[in-house]
Symmetry: C2
Subunit: 366 residues, 2 copies
């Protein structure tokens, strides 16, 4: 009795005719709205039965038009992501997509407009045309966009934006993780610790770097941030690694440990350091942050910190959906705790801590 080809999808009208009821009844039964309770169990069953047999699926456009809701959220990405960063975010996308699916929501990818148009805010089509009920903002985003979002009354949640508690955010505890990394290295006996990272303009970078500097000063140590000048920041990881290692090696006193802004930087420098003859962790200890998959493959594997990506996705999704359901309610932002992944790139500094002069330690090609 079922048509082989769904050339014309079945509608509620069809079901109504077959069940001998009105379309309104069908609608009440099949939409999960609370008004459905006024229907007799018998009718409900019959309609559901027929719907199943006929392979009925609601027309999302019609539903959205009528309900003024889309059961879809947007994921807003800056366009500028390179392959490295995007690999971190693809994991996030996976988790978000999974969480949203569980909640019956779709995920629409929205890439930011190209940078040429900066200044005036250009909304991606799906925001303009209101095809989403809310937006997840991954990475940081301009104030202008936020105010447009607000004026359009589109709920949003920021993810990994380090934008502060002014907004609804799900963020890693950037400050905390950096302090923890420093305590760890300091506890091992390191004093000449430098900080290396590339994403100079990411709020997370700034927070971690600040935590690093505060820690160093509090312990009477001189902070040293490698490649902190913006001119050097462009280009690819290979080039970045070269420059960073060169800068490190040209210091009068070599560091005994490096705290990296993230694993990407750590992996980038890892081989360049080894090539210069640094034995890890004998000559230098390394700590990363984020636990990207390749970190575990290094030999020795990278000691790093991990944030609960899965949980952050879950939280962000539920915050957004709550916000959509009740636009007036205010929810607290969330800052996620890190977990230390202790592997093989850290050890005590090679030289004794006792007050010996910090002589050059004979690094080849240094």
């Amino acid at each position: 009795m079922r048509s082989e080809r769904h050339r014309d999808p079945i509608t509620q009208k069809d079901l109504a005719r077959m069940a001998g009821v009105s379309t309104a009844t069908v609608s009440k039964v099949l939409s999960d709205s609370p008004s459905g309770i006024e229907i007799s169990e018998q009718t409900k069953d019959k309609i559901r039965q027929i719907a199943r047999e006929m392979g009925y699926t609601p027309n999302a456009s019609a539903r959205a038009l009528r309900r003024r809701s889309y059961e879809t959220v947007g994921l807003y990405f800056p366009r500028s992501y390179g392959p490295w960063v995007s690999s971190v975010y693809s994991e996030l996308t996976r988790h978000l997509s999974y969480e949203l699916e569980k909640a019956g929501q779709g995920l629409l990818i929205m890439m930011a407009p190209p940078v040429e148009t900066e200044g005036k805010v250009i909304l991606p089509r799906f925001l303009e045309q209101r095809e989403v009920d809310g937006v997840l903002l991954a990475h940081h985003v301009s104030e202008d966009l936020l105010s447009v979002l607000a004026s359009l009354r589109i709920p949003y949640v920021m993810l990994n934006c380090a934008a502060g508690f002014k907004y609804l955010c799900v963020d890693p505890d950037d400050f905390g993780v950096q302090i923890r990394a420093m305590e760890y290295l300091y506890g091992l006996g390191h004093r000449r610790i430098c900080f290396v990272g590339r994403s100079l303009y990411h709020p997370s970078y700034r927070i971690r770097r600040e935590a690093y500097e505060i820690f160093m000063r509090q312990h009477g140590l001189q902070p040293y941030v490698v490649l902190s000048k913006k001119e050097i920041q462009s280009g690819f990881s290979e080039k970045f690694a070269e420059l960073a290692v060169e800068e490190i090696c040209s210091q009068p006193e070599l560091p005994t440990a490096i705290s990296f802004y993230n694993d990407i930087s750590a992996v980038a420098l890892y081989h360049a350091l080894a090539e210069r003859g640094f034995q890890i962790p004998r000559d230098i200890s390394l700590v990363g942050c984020d636990d990207i998959p390749e970190s575990a493959l290094l030999r020795p594997p990278l000691t790093t910190f991990r944030f609960p990506a899965q949980r952050m996705a879950t939280e962000a999704v539920s915050m957004l959906l709550n916000q959509i359901r009740d636009p007036k309610a205010r929810f607290p932002s969330i800052r996620c705790e890190h977990e230390q992944i202790e592997r093989g790139t850290c050890g005590p500094p090679r030289e004794p801590l006792s007050g010996l002069p910090d002589l050059f330690n004979g690094i080849p090609n240094g």
Copy 2:
């Protein structure tokens, strides 16, 4: 004169009222349909002007309901992607999203249902509810799903599926690239070449492996595929690397070169090999495939092959959009050529090619 808050979005009716014309006229002008030519330039200008001033944007749901088209395509991903693989695909997503945006199309992420439900085909909601005009299938996909897609008359294009010319595909030239890799290693003098890869069930793996075996046999050499037994395939890359290197080292004759199914495997084994004392490329030459970003960071950096991801995305999108526009038309599949990225992991074999006995060469911990 413009409302500060768009609490009620402007509709064509509003515009019609303001311009003193009917909604039909507004629709004709603003929809890019060919019927718009019947309107006088003057009226057109006036309407467009007002629309711009009022910040009118069409309601996508209403438009979709009426036109039965959504200006949106789905991207179908298997759920099982781990972080490694997803990093490769996130690049693809970026390119696809960009291409689609240029064409005014949205991108909806559709994750496959969990594997538990295998057997019966479960369509993701957005396919069922027809919220997309077509689908891009990344990675390979079950025959069942394809037949459902066909019966629903939803156009699709397969990307990286190695599904053969039976379907509309955009694929890398798996066979060609593997032969090229072999020719290269063979040309350097290598004879004991083994093949390493993890994705035993991916059609691309099978094709490349087959090309490897054919090449070896044609040259009178014994093929050797490492970790070809499926029991060992589960687990993470670290474990895989351990097992693979162990298997390689336990051979009576060590290989002088490894051809990897992909860069992921190559990167995974790289450090494990180095740890065993292999000097690359002195003791062993390595060739990868795909050119993932971390390949360039290894020291020496990995020699590999690259496929034009950007172009593949462009092609796939244009094929799909053409198919959507004209469902009856048949387009040819596309197989993309590789480009060799020669870096530092290949050299001639260490031992002379002359008929000396293949003695164990003194690898530590071997």
